[in-house]
Amino acid sequence: MTAAPAPSLDVRGLAYAYPDGHQALFGVDLTVGHGERVALLGPNGAGKTTLVLHLNGILTGGAGTVTVAGLPVGKKHMAEIRRRVGIVFQDPDDQLFMPTVREDVAFGPAAAGVRGAALEAVVRRALERVGMAEFADRPPHHLSFGQRRRVAVATVLAMEPEILVLDEPSSNLDPASRRELADILRTLDVTVLMVTHDLPYALELCPRSVVLSEGVIAADGRTGDILADEELMARHRLELPFGFVPGSVA
């Protein structure tokens, strides 16, 4: 045994077919070290969402294993796994289901048994980390989209996750909100797995990227190298925005 902490996420040989027979994952191997920020890239239909839903045990039953900070995902530790893996879904209106921001952020910790002043403190801190503390008593519907996305991140941070999984964090954000979210994500002291089509965003935030294509990890390396590999990019239907040259910013 070494003294290094167990990796935040360890996926081994993960394969999964949906009940209708459609096979989405064909043996995924992925290790994300503690404190790393990794982008998960891949074309539509590559199996990204399916992989994400395996990380906290929403989907199980295929082949392979998922381990979160040393704890295997399975029925036995489901509550702890769901605390450790914080998934921020793409549509904040799905993520924010309580009548006020404060209650929504409190939901996870309260479900884990936190009450009273301790709960207040957790909520306050999570909202402060995303700069939304003064909006605690607003209903989510009255926030801008960018603000809702930030609150969605707070709902997950309140559970002190081992790993933060973001599904398309920059989608539908205007450029300013997109940058504000990036600033926030950079300050968080937590492992991040970011599923995205926004390649410049991946380059900006994640030193490492993996490409998921047709249900397997097709590439794994430095984000700058992957984005610069034109042949690899073309093979997996990944495209940079017009005029964007990865080497010029990295």
Binding site: R82, F89, A106, A110, A111, G113
Partner: protein, 253 residues
Amino acid sequence: MGAGHAHKLYRDVRSPVHELPPHTKLAAVLGFVVVVVSTPREAVWAFALYAALLAAVAAKARIPAGFLLKRLLIEIPFVAFALLMPFVVPGERTAFLGVSLSVPGLWGAWNVLAKGTLGVAASVLLASTTELRALILGLQRLKLPPLLVQIASFMIRYGDVITDEMRRMSVARRSRGFEARGVRHWGVLAKSAGALFIRSYERGERVHLAMVSRGYTGTMPVIDEVTATRAQWAYAAALPLTALLICLLGWTL
């Protein structure tokens, strides 16, 4: 905008009535309505006193009469039914301005009108002094089945989201030249309603996924506990208890 400002029924002012815990107000209104309904309809003066009681509450809550009366209009469909009774109920008849009216029908109409109006007025007062969110907490505190509380709470959260979706669909229809003019267009509207249902259903599935991901196991965790002191209960009880006194007088006099 605060949590309750969005709702048209709520009137955001500070008053002793606004500050009462929601479950005491709910219990008071329920008690008041039960008492009103149990009052004999012949005790006309009792209903006048009930109305005076509500007026006193409204004054205390700083709800203007105009605001209250406008919101009472919701009662109209029920009133229409009451107005029919003097014409259709069989029994002893009397003439008023040359129109023959049934006496039991008139009493029946009075009964429905008076009790209905008082009940609606009490509910309007409750809604104008209590935020929707607080009402839900109050119902939870009064031990309404948790499933019903959850459904009501999700209705509040997603009402606006679904209305928005509905509006976007309507804009999309009109942008493609559709104008609902007659029966022939009902098919299109029905299909839109179906599509809206399916979208909402799928959203429900996604929301459930998000809930499960954050540790939901079938019961909502208690986040806000509303509590009331004895004094607050006593204050809220003033309305139904005074009404009860009037009701008892109505039965004995």
